[in-house]
């Protein structure tokens, strides 16, 4: 962990050092920083910094019915709230959306956290918004912040193990409320400190610091960061493609991409998603008719499983009320990860959720102690689909309390046997299918202007807060509905529900359909957010022409961006480490911004043809008009068309 953080930091330092040593046009002459807008910086007040820091704590906390991980933790949503706090919700959402794209392949399973999207979102958007950075430059900086954020997570995972032992001590005293308290109070107190303090300091001082640092750098290195902001989204998209870009779903990715480039980015992601849904229906019913193949054996295992369940009839001594079961579900939804730690993972959360059940079913101190200790052991599953385990265990506890011969081993074997497979299905569904698809739609809406055009790399684009709001609403409804259903069905039908749902083929159908929709949306997103613009000119029949404008865009708009995404996907398939790719892309982007072929930009407002053809890649599109055709345009003239056109797909006005 420290190694990867150090490697990233090292690369960044090296690049900036090289940049500082190279003779280049520095910003000393230019008052406005490149990559930074001309508008004055917002100063972040102490109260605003405190609200932002508390927001980041909430993103890691259990207090939002456990939904924070799916909502506030995502840069898209964080961007909206930081924007609200700083008084610019639209701009905040736009920056959050841009930052979120490289995190589309984010997956946290079994206590591992590759990168912290929450930290990247809350701090990255603050720095970008208050420092008036270009959203694309913010992407590069946010990725570094995301790696920094993992320190908080790993520190918490280690320290929270201690609190699990405090819960053990309470269980020894048969103290039900004490176990519940130990699951949330110490862990959350610790989390509040370690998450609030660093984000507060960053929010208060970060924007000025980052802006000053950027102002000291040569102009072209800052352009390099903006170029990297167009290149790095390819990594997030490719990481997500590892989950869904395969088999007969592959063409849909290209359909999504081409749909977006062919319309010059003028259709909204909602339309792409709607077309995707239609195609998913056709795909399921006419292409992949093999999918529900598991359905035919449905009858027999249900009967077999039901027979193996001990049924305690009307003579039950104690029975659980519906309220107990719902209360248990609510406790789990809130507090499953309140004390997440290396030693037990969700172990104390499971015990906490069982407290209403234990309170109802057991009366003697020995029974209570045994039940608490039974459920304080190592446990980890996906906390929504995995709820079938809890439901089943609750039913078993009820039967046991009524005298059925169910021993500790029987309960433990259901927990330890089912938690893995349900996590496998659950993570595949919730983290690597449902969340990225809904996020992609939200990002698409957020990154659009009123006309539906996404302009992530060009300053001045307006974001749409609806993207964040719609995403939050949809993901919350889906996750809560799944969690409640699996919990209740697990209780009512136990193991037979597990085999039945698995055998019905419903999960496979959802995954295949989601694969179609996901590929469409991901392709469209790649067309919008991945930006590779070649800068050099070539002489054809005596006329100087820009490579991108003259050769690539007329043939296949966005071909380079598509190529980059596919290359990244291929590298990941070859098991190249994503962090190595991240570092390499960052370095290459900055080098590619060096003005090899001319004097480069004279100041940050210089959008002339001379300036934009002097490096290997350039950060804005389209280039100004070639000097041969018309007199060099002023900064104002060429900046205007760039503000309303998709950077990846625009057809320059200067086409021969």
């Amino acid at each position: 962990m420290f190694r990867k953080f150090a490697a990233f930091g090292g690369c960044l330092t090296l690049v900036l050092l090289i940049a500082a040593l190279m003779p280049a046009t520095t910003l000393a002459a230019a008052p406005g920083a490149a990559g930074a807008l001309e508008a004055p910086r917002i100063s972040v007040s102490v109260w605003q910094a405190a609200l932002i820091a508390f927001g980041y704590y909430l993103a890691n906390s259990p207090w939002l019915f456990g939904l924070a991980f799916f909502t506030l933790y995502r840069p898209l949503v964080a961007g909206f709230f930081v924007g609200l706090i700083l008084g610019q919700p639209a701009e905040g959402t736009l920056i959050g959306a841009a930052i979120n794209v490289p995190f589309l392949g984010f997956l946290s399973a079994g206590g591992s956290l590759p990168i912290d999207p929450g930290f990247a979102g809350w701090v990255g958007v603050t720095v970008a918004l208050a420092g008036h950075l270009d959203p694309a430059a913010a992407v590069s900086i946010a990725l570094g912040l995301g790696l920094l954020g993992t320190l908080i997570f790993y520190g918490r995972m280690a320290v929270d193990s201690v609190f699990a032992h405090w819960a053990d001590a309470r269980a020894d005293k048969a103290d039900i409320a004490g176990v519940a308290l130990m699951n949330w109070l110490p862990g959350q107190a610790f989390l509040l400190v370690v998450s609030f303090v660093p984000v507060f300091l960053f929010a208060l001082n970060g924007p000025a610091y980052v802006q000053d640092a950027l102002n000291r750098l040569p102009l072209w290195t800052v352009n390099g960061l903006v170029i990297a902001g167009g290149v790095l989204p390819a990594l997030g998209i490719a990481m997500n493609m590892r989950f869904i870009f395969r088999g007969s779903a592959i063409p849909y990715f290209f359909i999504g991409f081409i749909l977006m480039t062919a319309t010059h980015g003028s259709i909204s992601l909602v339309v792409v998603a709607a077309i995707g849904l239609c195609l998913a229906y056709l795909h399921l019913n006419f292409v992949r008719r093999d999918v529900p193949a598991r359905v035919e054996t449905i009858e027999e295992p249900v009967a077999a499983a039901a027979a193996s369940t001990v049924v305690v009839g009307a003579q039950a001594k104690v029975s659980l009320t519906r309220g107990d079961i719902i209360k248990s579900w609510a406790l789990w939804s809130f507090f499953a990860h309140a004390n997440y730690n290396y030693e037990r993972l969700q172990g104390t959360g499971f015990a906490h959720a069982m407290t209403p059940i234990i309170k109802r079913l057991y009366t003697t101190e020995d029974e209570i102690r045994a039940a608490l200790k039974r459920h304080l052991v190592f446990f980890n599953t996906e906390p929504n689909f995995g709820n079938v385990v809890h439901g089943t265990v609750i039913a078993m506890e009820e039967q046991r309390a009524n005298g059925a011969p169910i021993d500790d081993d029987a309960i433990n074997s259901v927990k330890s046997g089912l938690m893995g497979p349900m996590a496998g299905i659950g993570d595949t569904m919730s983290q690597s299918t449902i969340t990225p698809i809904l996020l992609a739609i939200g990002i698409g809406i957020a990154g659009g202007t009123a006309s539906g055009t996404a302009v992530p790399t060009i300053s001045g684009a307006t974001g749409n807060p609806l993207g964040a709001i719609i995403y939050m609403a949809l993901i919350s409804i889906v996750i809560v509905a799944i969690g409640y259903t699996t919990w209740m069905q697990g209780y009512a039908r136990g193991r037979s529900f597990v085999t039945e749902i698995l055998k019905s083929g419903a999960i496979d159908r959802v995954l295949v359909g989601a694969g179609v929709l996901g590929n469409m949306v991901l392709g469209a997103l790649a067309a919008t957010f991945v930006v590779v613009n070649l800068a050099p000119t070539v002489s054809i029949a005596g006329a100087k022409m820009n490579l991108q404008a003259a050769i690539i865009d007329p043939l296949f708009p966005g071909a380079l961006a598509l190529g980059l995404v596919l290359l990244t996907w291929w590298l990941l398939r070859r098991r190249v480490n994503p962090l190595a790719i991240l570092a390499a892309y960052l370095v290459i982007s900055i080098i590619a911004a060096y003005p090899f072929f001319g004097p480069g930009q004279q100041n940050s407002g210089d959008y002339s043809y001379q300036a934009c053809t002097s490096s290997l890649l350039h950060q804005y599109s389209p280039c100004g008009t070639p000097p041969a055709a018309t007199p060099a345009p002023t900064a104002a003239e060429s900046a205007v068309p760039s503000a309303g056109t998709s950077a990846a797909t625009s057809v320059p006005s200067a086409r021969p």
Binding site: R3, K4, L107, A109, G110, G111, S112, P114, M157, S161, R242, F243, V291, A293, R294, P301, A305, S308, Y342, E343, R344, L345, V377, F378, N380, T381, E382, S413, S416, G417, L418, M419, G420, P421, M422, A423, G424, I425, G426, D427, T428, Q431, S432, R495, V498, T499, L502, K503, D508, L511, V512, L572, R573, R575, N577, P578, L579
Partner: protein, 160 residues
Amino acid sequence: MSLRLVRIDDRLIHGQVVAGWLRAIGGRRIVIVDDATARDEFLREVLTLAAPQGVPVEVYDVAAGAARCIELAAKPEPVIVLARSPRTILGLRQAGVPIEVVDLGGMGAGPGRKRIHKTISVSPGEIRELREIERLGTRVEIQIVVDDRPISFASVVSGE
């Protein structure tokens, strides 16, 4: 070598395996070797159904698993082998299964177990078994998720 991943993980099939490893290394078949799981019909069924469609899951005890692994190792199809404990892997290794690297992916904490790295805890007996596996020429590495850098087991238990 078509046994692409031989992993000790007490949760067997779960998110890190299905959503991470399986995709990343292109696994086409999962072989689970565990005596207790092989005896439990319900768990066998759940595990078989928990993998994505098109990835068959086979569950064996150590004796049958060794024979099956030797057979699969000679074929080109990429296979993932999962076991719950080092003892099982030692059994496979002693039965002649060609394992180049064994990956410690998830070994939960408990009484008498010492945490050596993140979610990896081992008992003294397991340390002995893992050392024995190393002595038989198989590297023992810790790599919880596919994007982690592998760490050698020897480097985290040295001096014990």
